[in-house]
């Protein structure tokens, strides 16, 4: 039980760090990109959204339900240059006959120059006759 929790916490800590490390802006065509940057003045340089959920049902016969929603970080008329969105969830049904349900939704804008989207889930039915149910949605598009 402890190992499962530790593994989940390690996962949740590592992913946002990886997104920061691998995301950001890589220059491909400097002239075009500088033009995009100038045209986007007044709008945010970057928008980063990290949504993390941890849901545990530990006791025998217990039930834990979690719903998380994140929206925003820009508008249709004013998008950030770089958009980074991270969704991670750990959902653990640890007790005997327990139920753990988790739903995480993250919706945000695409970046003018770059869009980085990371989604990762960790879902475990550990106890006897337990049930773990997890849904993750990470989307960009306005």
């Amino acid at each position: 039980m402890l190992r499962a929790s530790l593994a989940a916490l390690t996962l949740l800590a590592a992913l946002p760090a990886a997104a920061q490390d691998r995301g950001g802006m890589h220059m491909n065509n400097a002239i075009n990109e500088l033009g995009e940057i100038q045209a986007n003045q007044g709008c945010p340089l970057s928008a980063t959204s990290v949504t993390v959920g941890v849901n545990n049902a530990r006791g025998g016969g217990s039930s834990a339900t979690q719903q998380l929603g994140t929206q925003g970080g820009g508008s249709s008329g004013c998008r950030p240059l770089v958009s980074t969105r991270v969704v991670t969830g750990a959902n653990l049904a640890l007790g005997r006959g327990s139920y753990a349900g988790q739903s995480i939704t993250n919706q945000g804008p695409t970046g003018v120059l770059a869009t980085n989207t990371y989604t990762r889930g960790y879902n475990v039915g550990y106890g006897a006759q337990s049930t773990a149910n997890q849904r993750l949605l990470n989307g960009t598009g306005h």
Binding site: A114, T115, Y118, N123
Partner: protein, 203 residues
Amino acid sequence: MVTEGNQVMRSIVLSSFAAFAALAAVSVAPASAQISITHGGGNVNTAKGAMSEADQSATTLGGLASGHGKAITNGGNNYNTAGGKYSYAGQDTTTVGGTALGHGLAITKGGYNNNLAKGYGSSATQSTLTLGGTAYGHGKSITSGGYNTNLAAGAFSSADQQVATVGGTAGRHGLNVVSGGMNKNAALGYGSSASQQVFTGGQ
């Protein structure tokens, strides 16, 4: 047997619904970026206790890269395990990304998925759909969906795996590379069954 049929059907229906929603969302997205990285893989779903159940659904919608863009889509590396006696693990992963315009590069990876039923009488169902990989202009589209493993290791266990990786359209003077091989399917346990369907192709 009826229960197993229902589980497979639910998996297919969920996957189809997620794909439809994903395509709808992408088709209305007016925005574009020069670099788009969509990472929807690396998910873990485990039913470890006896008679336990674990259901996981992960959907990631990503991007469009313009100019000398790069669109990188990773939807693979998912793990689904039914470890307990009479346990059930069901996993659906849908990842949509990857259109590169201009001298674009679209890389789509949906493989390296693992589906394992190792408990006595356990059942594991895994469905992974990765859509990506369209490069216009002098573009390159590289798609890989292989290296999947499906194992029914426990006695009287059942493992079912569906992996679909769709990519592979390159415009004029384009380069289109598709690979989907090196898949492994085995029923190792006494009275076990394993079924695997892997599709890798272009749009």
